[in-house]
Amino acid sequence: MIALKIAQRELIAAWRERLHGFRILMLCLIFGIASISAIGSLRGAIDAGLNSNGRVFLGGDAQIELTYRQANAQELAWMARQSRAQSQIIDFRSMAVAPDTNKRILTQVKAVDSAYPLVGAITLSGDMGLSEAFAGQDGLPGAILAPALLRRLNINLGDQVKFGQKLFVVMATLLKEPDNFGNFALGPRSLVLTKDLDGSGLLAAGTLFSSKYRLLLEDGSDLDQAQQRFDEEWPGTGAKWKDARKASPGADRVIERMSRFLILIGLSGLVVGGIGVSAAVRAFIAKKTGHIAVLKTLGATPGQIFWIYTLQIAVYTGLSVVLGLLLGALAPFAARPFLPENLAEVALISIYPSALIEAAVYGCLAAAIFSIWPLAQTEHIRPANLFRGGAPAHWPARRYLLVQGALLAAALFGAVQFSGSWSMTFWLLGGIAISLLILAMISGAFQFTLKRIMHRSAFQGRLPLRAAFSALASGSERTGSVVMGIGLGLTVLAAVGQIDGNLRRSITQSLPDKAPSFFFLDIQSSQLPEFNKRLAENPAVRQVETAPMLRGLVTKINQQPAAEVGGDHWVLRGDRGISYADGLPEQTKITAGQWWGRATAGRPKSALPLKRLKRSASGLEIN
């Protein structure tokens, strides 16, 4: 109780002095907490947006996707029984051709039926309706093109465009397509009616396309049960189920990984800030050495002294947490205009308590971990320091070390829980620990060297230089804090910069060396001789490589159903591309086993990403 009273008196005095001596401590915490809470709030906003708009992004309650085929009558009947409305979409890549100029641009074609869209609304230029746009004009069916495609083809609304062998008239541009969020596309979008593609030759056997069946389930349907029924009815068909609970798994994954990474970067910032906190608390305690000695003279016990100053640090931490959370919670509102357009549309910017709690926990733990050591030093301040001067630093008593260890373990557990990745957290925190160790060694070596060289003749008569170096050499804790704080901050910045730079260099420099200038897909075997002949006639082409491609499902492993062996491994999900060759293709590396010979007979052999598959498929070996 007396500790609380004295702490209160000192807090009021510090407030009168405008928190002089605590500004560094508070700034360190505020910025760390604000960055973590801002990242968390933004992630919460995007998650909430994705979840609440799941039906719109998916275009229905659920979707069944088939590759290179459409559903058969039995499958269509099953879908009709399970839902109250269905819509089919066929998605494929093709060339959009401007007939007048013969200009050709790759486009991602979405062929839809009259029920499209089951959920949400599509926005076309001129507020045109879909049926009006598809109706076309002058006897030609209508097509809707993305504005970018129109620009690249150098055509206008009302002009003709050719898909395959069939002409369409461009009736409108596509302004908003809600069921395309987070989807990967190789070209700008084109939208046509599926039935209008008859005669185009685009959906012939061997064409690479996917067909998606969007379903509207009965009101109150349980998506878990619906998926369970799908799993039971569609085994081994290669069909993929997706529903409104996770409408954009790709976007979810990217956002989740990005936010994990950013939160860990924020944590690094908090560690840097924590070093600042530690230095600030140490300076605060050093300034209070006289007061502490007086209080002890008056009869204050070491425990009371510890609590007098711990309570003060707790109040400043609490104040910093509140200010940091306030900044972090408001940051997404301020950042909205600067977000990429698709994210700004999706994000439901609001206050997300879980993100704020996470940041507050990190902030409090960082403050406690980094201030307990200097606070424990109050135990070593003796009344005799009033006569004999400052108290030398000691190792804290074991109970403080135990508390610090427990706090570190809690911080580690929290970081793993919040980031969701053991390996990423351990690598990051391990990296920080090793960096701090190296920086402490550098600091020690620096001070040792300074002490050795300070008495050399070069420093004689140079008082400012000698005084500055002397302060650096003797102020071991201060020098160490500065070296570690600035050093770790620069280490984090340099690491982020290096990762970014390496990724960019890899993409801009390495990939073009290895990647071809053009890919051509979907060339039938019968078309290959003519295709190669044309390329040979083109002087710009210096090398052509072809590879046969089959698509298929892995249905069995070692004569057992694949799912029983491999579970839900991604290799077993949907269809996989399978190529084949007699000889080992150039630049291909065999990691285990041997390449089969040209005269191999018997069972066909295959090469698989075995290591990846083995992680979930126990017992799978070469042969």
Binding site: A13, V294, L298, G299, T301, A384
Partner: protein, 208 residues
Amino acid sequence: MVDILHSIDLQITQGSSCALVGPSGSGKSSLLMVMAGLEQATSGRVAVLGEDISAMSEAELAQFRRGRVGVVFQSFHLIPSMTALQNVATAIELAGQPDPFERARAKLADLGLAHRYDHFPKQMSGGEQQRVALARALAPNPKLVFADEPTGNLDAANGASIVDSLFTLTQEQADTTLILVTHDNQLAQRCDRIIDLRDGKICESQGA
């Protein structure tokens, strides 16, 4: 390691006043700290107010000092973040005694500082600060008052005033023993006993 005090065998009568004199470095302040329980002797036995404090932990020593030991420093050592009243009341609070603020007000008034209750140390003169320090040391009615060069940082007039107050107030408190460290012979002569220290040893003891 340096031996500061050795072969000290000293008993001081309760309720008396005692001056520790001697040249700088003779061990006066060290002896005062050992007797006040602010520092521990590396060997030997120290009994204060009938309790052996030689083997006490720091927490035990703090509890021993509470309300029983008052210290006046040469450099005042008031807590700058607290007002005069709070400085005095804190000592009473730490001693666990009732009505800390009322008693602090009374003690400050006794020392002529009724107009300075809410002033901070930096707003007061050196003489006023030392009077607040005196009030803080005496307010819990300690059995032992230690004063280390209490006039060392004051001019002659203020010094004389403080010394008068120190002697008057300790005499008013029954059974309170005053032990002071001083270089001032005149001040030392006011005490019942004078102990002269040289090189950590008692060289001469005059008086009762």
